[in-house]
């Protein structure tokens, strides 16, 4: 196999359970050494997609090719596609070392070699000395690393991960993200990571695949998806976005009677996205046009605070500000503010030429 062919190719893959269509004809190539995140709301078909790759589900239609070989109905145990489960699925009646060596044992690897590999992988994941611990004597983060070691010990070409961090405390999630990205780089293998958390997907992956209602909605690098969502679904799902519609005339968009700057778009009705961190908040009416909105609530989110507002016509608006700025603004529910943005900030979702 040359490196030109993708490691995995989904072509027109469908999966239905009776009348319910979980996956509706997806096309997706995954390259060697890539970290791909499949992201979407629950029930979007992302886990089904992953399970088909692992051979735990058989596609109803279409083909899945792994390494140039059609693998639609290859049984799970004949594939080398280890999966890190959401529940981790560690074997409770086996100790740490026995869990980790499981894959090798199933491949009838001799005992001495198994022990050497177990020692290597436990060390790699910082689990030295835990060989004989029972699974229920481990912390959440330790279990996570045992699950990783168990999946990676057979040195597969690709690792599948099904929301593996969803059960962890927030501070552990960030640390495990570091462990995962480091491992992926060191091993140079493909990671296919299913999650509903955009912070996980965007922090780790090379490419993000957004799924909704059993279809792939957008594929792109995290930044592309974040700054240029393809449609309303992605814009609503990803990040803290403001979605506004109005009519464009002469480089300005009319949103509920307020004319706001919008560069490089010809006249006609349009739907635009403005990321929360591109919004400016003013405590009093600025000299330039701005949307008047009542403060609703605030939410601390990493780099700053997301403030929620209610704009004209029940429009939900959000703006991200640094914490110090929030103190300056002293928001209270119902207090009016003015929101605006720079002319080059909006991303256009839909646009029709011509006047209405």
């Amino acid at each position: 196999m040359t490196d030109a062919t993708p490691l995995v190719r989904f072509s027109q893959v469908r999966k239905s359970y009776g009348a319910i269509e979980a996956v509706r004809g997806i096309d997706l190539d995954i390259d060697r050494g890539e970290f791909v995140a499949i992201m979407g709301p629950s029930g979007c078909g992302k886990t089904t997609t992953l399970r088909m790759l692992a051979g735990l589900e058989t596609p109803t239609d279409g083909t899945i090719t792994i390494d140039g070989r059609v693998t639609n109905s290859l049984p799970a145990h004949e594939r080398d596609t280890p999966l890190v489960w959401q529940s981790l699925a560690l074997f409770p009646f086996l100790n740490v070392a026995q869990n980790v060596e499981f894959g090798l044992k199933m491949r009838d690897v001799p005992r001495a070699e198994r022990q050497a590999k177990v020692a290597l992988w436990l060390e790699r994941l910082g689990l030295e000395g835990f060989e004989h611990r029972r699974i229920d004597q481990l912390s959440g983060g330790q279990k996570q690393r045992v699950a990783l070691a168990r999946s990676l010990i057979t040195e597969p070409e690709m690792l599948l991960l099904d929301e593996p961090l969803s059960a962890l405390d927030a501070h552990l999630v960030v640390r495990m993200q570091g462990v995962l990205t480091r491992l992926q780089k060191e091993l140079g293998i493909t990671f296919v990571y299913v999650t509903h958390s955009q912070s996980e997907a965007f922090a780790m992956s090379d490419r993000v695949v957004i799924m909704g209602h059993g279809e792939i909605v957008q594929i792109g690098r995290p930044r592309e998806i974040f700054r240029a969502p393809r449609n309303r679904f992605v814009a609503e799902f990803v990040g803290h976005n403001n979605i506004l519609s109005g009519t464009v005339t002469q480089g300005e968009i009319d949103v509920d009677g307020v004319r706001l700057p919008l560069a490089g778009v010809s006249d006609g009705p349009a739907e635009i996205v403005v990321a929360a961190d591109r919004m400016e908040i003013y405590g009093s009416p600025p000299s330039s046009p701005a949307l008047k909105a009542a403060f609703v609530s605030e939410e601390f989110a990493g780099a700053g605070v997301i403030c929620y507002f209610e704009g004209p016509g029940d429009l939900e608006l959000r703006a991200q500000v640094p914490e110090a700025r929030l103190a300056e603004l002293a928001p209270e529910p119902g207090k009016p503010f003015w929101l605006a943005w720079a002319a080059d900030s909006p991303h256009v979702l839909t646009h029709r030429e011509g006047r209405t």
């Binding site: 692992a54 051979g55 735990l56 049984p75 799970a76 145990h77 080398d80 596609t81 280890p82 999966l83 489960w85 959401q86 529940s87 699925a89 074997f91 409770p92 009646f93 499981f102 894959g103 199933m106 491949r107 229920d136 168990r150 999946s151 057979t154």
Partner: protein, 259 residues
């Protein structure tokens, strides 16, 4: 608040006394030297045990009972586990009917069961044989084994088995190295319990046993002849065997669920 608790404790105590009094009485009289079970007691003796176990037909009956209990326990545990696993792994139409059928035997009146077994085993030419009793007891005990295995399987993460496949175990191997080890306490417990069910069982065994008597059937035959303290001795041995099996089953189950 305190008074009702005290009341319930006393009530529970009374209940246990009521349940176990006859058994304790029988055990006490099995060590009593008097010919008839009357008060006051005579002196302590093991002569009833000696005379009872000096009789070859008592040994014969125990041999039959143990053979039947071990065979029926093995078969019904295997059947019960398989039935419970089918319920756990697969979804199919008429599943509730399948479960109802699998759990039906204990609801059938024993006399009816005995008669039906007699007629059916007669057709097969197995009435009066040890095999016949084994078949009858397997039918009666399998639902208990199934219930116990099902309880354990419900505690199993469904992805555990799939994780084994994912790591290269064929379905049969995954069954051997993951599902069975996970269920092992329940399987042993089911074995003990079904052995106890079979060892104690009288009515159906009486219908189908013929000349190959099990212990309970033999006890009745001795009893029909005369009242003899040897029965107390045999009964005590039967009771101790059964209670040991049942307690072992319970300990295994509780030990695993508590974790």
């Amino acid at each position: 608040m305190r008074l009702p608790i005290l009341f319930f404790r006393l009530y529970l105590l009374a209940l246990f006394c009521f349940v176990f009094a006859p058994i304790v009485t029988s055990t006490v009289f099995s060590f009593n030297s008097d010919r008839f079970p009357t008060m006051p007691l005579g002196h302590f003796t093991t002569q009833w045990y000696q005379t009872a176990f000096a009789r070859p037909e008592v040994w014969e009956a125990f041999r039959n009972s143990v053979t039947v209990a071990l065979s029926a326990a093995t078969l019904s545990t295997a059947l019960g586990f398989a039935t419970a696993y089918t319920d756990f792994r697969f979804g199919f139409r008429f599943k509730s009917a399948y479960l109802a059928l699998a759990l039906l035997p204990p609801t059938i009146p024993l006399v009816i069961m005995g008669l039906a077994m007699l007629a059916w085993l007669g057709q097969l030419g197995l009435s009066g044989s040890i095999t016949g009793i084994i078949i009858a007891h397997t039918v009666m005990a399998a639902p208990f084994a199934m219930a116990i295995c099902r309880m354990r399987l419900q505690q199993m993460d469904a992805s555990l088995e799939a994780a084994a496949w994912n790591l290269g175990a064929s379905p049969w191997r995954a069954m051997r190295v993951v599902v069975v080890p996970f269920c092992l306490p329940a399987v042993i417990s089911a074995f003990c319990l079904t052995a106890a069910v079979s060892f104690d069982e009288f009515i159906v065994a009486w219908f189908v046993s013929g000349l190959n008597k099990t212990v309970p059937v033999m006890i009745l035959e001795i009893l029909q002849g005369n009242v003899d303290p040897q029965i107390n001795a045999i009964g005590t041995v039967v009771f101790v065997t059964s209670i040991t099996l049942v307690v072992a089953a319970q300990l295994l189950l509780l030990g695993k669920t508590a974790r």
